[in-house]
Point group: C2
């Protein structure tokens, strides 16, 4: 625990018999300081265990490089993958990444955003987050990128998106090709652009095959964080009113809940009902039967978000599409 260290740059300067400015130069790795003095300073720093005060530095510099990853839920492996890509690049560049879990709670969003603005956060990655316009508008002097999902006036900001429409289209036609006729779709309320697209892909495929998809959507309730449970509830509700032979879910987590619901009804997967998820989680992969799903390049998506925030992709203000791979496993009938 030790004492009240509080070693400042001044102490170092004193010990190294050199000016404060020189120490600062050394610390920031400037080249215009003689090797000999640098050594002296470094030695002093080492001995005194000097740690630069971030607050003072950032205050003077006018900003610190802080990026924020705003996600709804730490429990969703989907978000975590993206965050990981973001974080790796951040630490590589000495940028601090602050992770904000909002739980879709307005109060939390507000306080987190307040803090983030206070520390002059220069880059915000909103991941699967729908933010109040009012809240978004308070963000000034910074870069914003939206990953996969999207808030109200999102078109003002760059987005990294997956080929949503194509995925659900492919999944649905795949099921149809295996003989499924009564295909239901489990999704949260589609207030977001990405989810809208997914729904659209699903419907198009049904329509093309001459099947009716209008009623075959089951929306889980808003703000539901316990996703597996939500999937269970939604699937149960479907099963109680009809006899589907296929379920398509916008998340592996929904799918896992759904599979359990199917089993609880005494039905078999995939013989009686086929299931397809989304995200290629470890959970789906090791479930029994293993889950057919889409694999998203999550880490890469996080990296792309970083590149936007970091100005590497500067002028390309627009959507950046990323491909999801269809992973065929055991949960759809042969």
């Amino acid at each position: 625990m030790s004492g009240f260290s509080k070693v400042t740059i001044k102490d170092v300067a004193l010990k190294a018999e050199v000016s404060v400015s020189t120490v600062s130069l050394v610390v920031s790795g400037s080249t215009r300081v003689a090797a000999k003095t640098r050594r002296k300073v470094l030695a002093a720093i080492d001995e005194l265990e000097y740690i630069p005060n971030e607050y003072a530095a950032s205050l003077r510099k006018g900003k610190r490089d802080v990026f924020a990853a705003v996600i709804p839920d730490l429990n969703n492996p989907y978000y975590i993958g993206i965050v990981r890509g973001l974080r790796e690049r951040c630490t590589k560049q000495g940028i601090v990444l602050h992770i904000s879990e909002t739980l879709h709670d307005y109060e939390v969003e507000k306080t987190e955003l307040r803090f983030l603005r206070g520390v002059q956060t220069s880059g915000y990655a909103f991941i699967g987050t729908v933010l109040d316009d009012e809240l978004i508008e308070t963000l000034t002097n910074c870069k914003i990128v939206s990953v996969d999902k999207v808030y109200g006036f999102a078109d003002q900001y760059p987005q990294v998106l997956i080929n949503n429409r194509h995925c659900t289209y492919e999944a649905t036609t795949y099921m149809i090709s295996k003989g499924c006729k009564n295909i239901w779709y489990i999704t949260p309320p589609t207030r977001t652009f990405g989810l809208e697209e997914r729904l659209d892909g699903y419907r198009s495929a049904l329509k093309e095959a001459g099947l009716d998809g209008e009623g075959h959507v089951c929306v889980s309730y808003d703000g539901q964080m316990n996703m597996i449970e939500a999937g269970y509830i939604q699937a149960s509700s479907i099963l109680s009113k009809t006899k589907p032979d296929a379920l398509l879910a916008t998340s592996d987590l929904y799918a896992i809940g759904a599979m359990r619901a199917i089993r609880d009804k005494g039905l078999r997967i995939p013989e009686d009902v086929s299931v397809i998820g989304f995200d290629n989680t470890e959970y789906g992969r090791y479930y029994q039967p293993s889950l057919t799903t889409f694999s998203l390049p999550l880490v890469r998506m996080g990296e792309m978000a970083f590149e936007f925030l970091n100005g590497d992709l500067d002028n390309k203000i627009g959507k950046l599409r990323v491909n999801a791979d269809f992973i065929i496993r055991e949960s759809v009938r042969k």
Copy 2:
């Protein structure tokens, strides 16, 4: 996006026709300012969209209340639950919680810790993290608490622990009572105190029952982050060399991997082999068969960690035990 706002306290003071100090007083919610002036200031703040600069404030105040949650892996629901309890309390108190994911990577640990010291982090919660002595020693002027697991000289710091020994003992005797005889235990390397205790509980139960437990441990490799896969690999290796009738795992995630391995061998759960996990994750709950496991008061544990850091539990420097509940479901034979 807008311009270069950069509204400072000075601007507010100017607009409200009042001194800088008064604005500061208002912002910090002091009572010694007249209602009339307060209104004026508040109006100015509102109009100018003033956001206090955290850096300046913290620099002046000497510290900001920042706590850190250091965890190895964001993908483990176990850690996330604890973090959530911690975070809730933090935001309630206006304390910022910085989440550090280390992936057990020394370099990451070092840079994260460096940043955290720079922002004068006053409380560190190490969750499931084994930190280098050298690294820990650099932490000064702050509170430290260790949750569930423990590093080298941990006894200097308070810990919140679960009743590990009791859990594994109970799980093992339970399996024995159901007729299991060849019970294996899947655990990561037991460098940590908590895991040591768990192993001990398992061994005691076996010994008491006159069974040999010495060889019946399967250690997954170090630093393995993909826990389900690790469980799968370890269980496969067990199954290839012997014919266990029960598997006990230190995490639901290991157990899920193990269950899949068992199935892949053509064996049934629980008829051929029983499985018990740890942590009571959603995944285990909805798996088929649902997983018998231990439910930990994760959120409460996070809250307790907070209380230590916040000084609420001040003098009690020691271990704080928390009970885990045995959740009996379908994965153990009747």
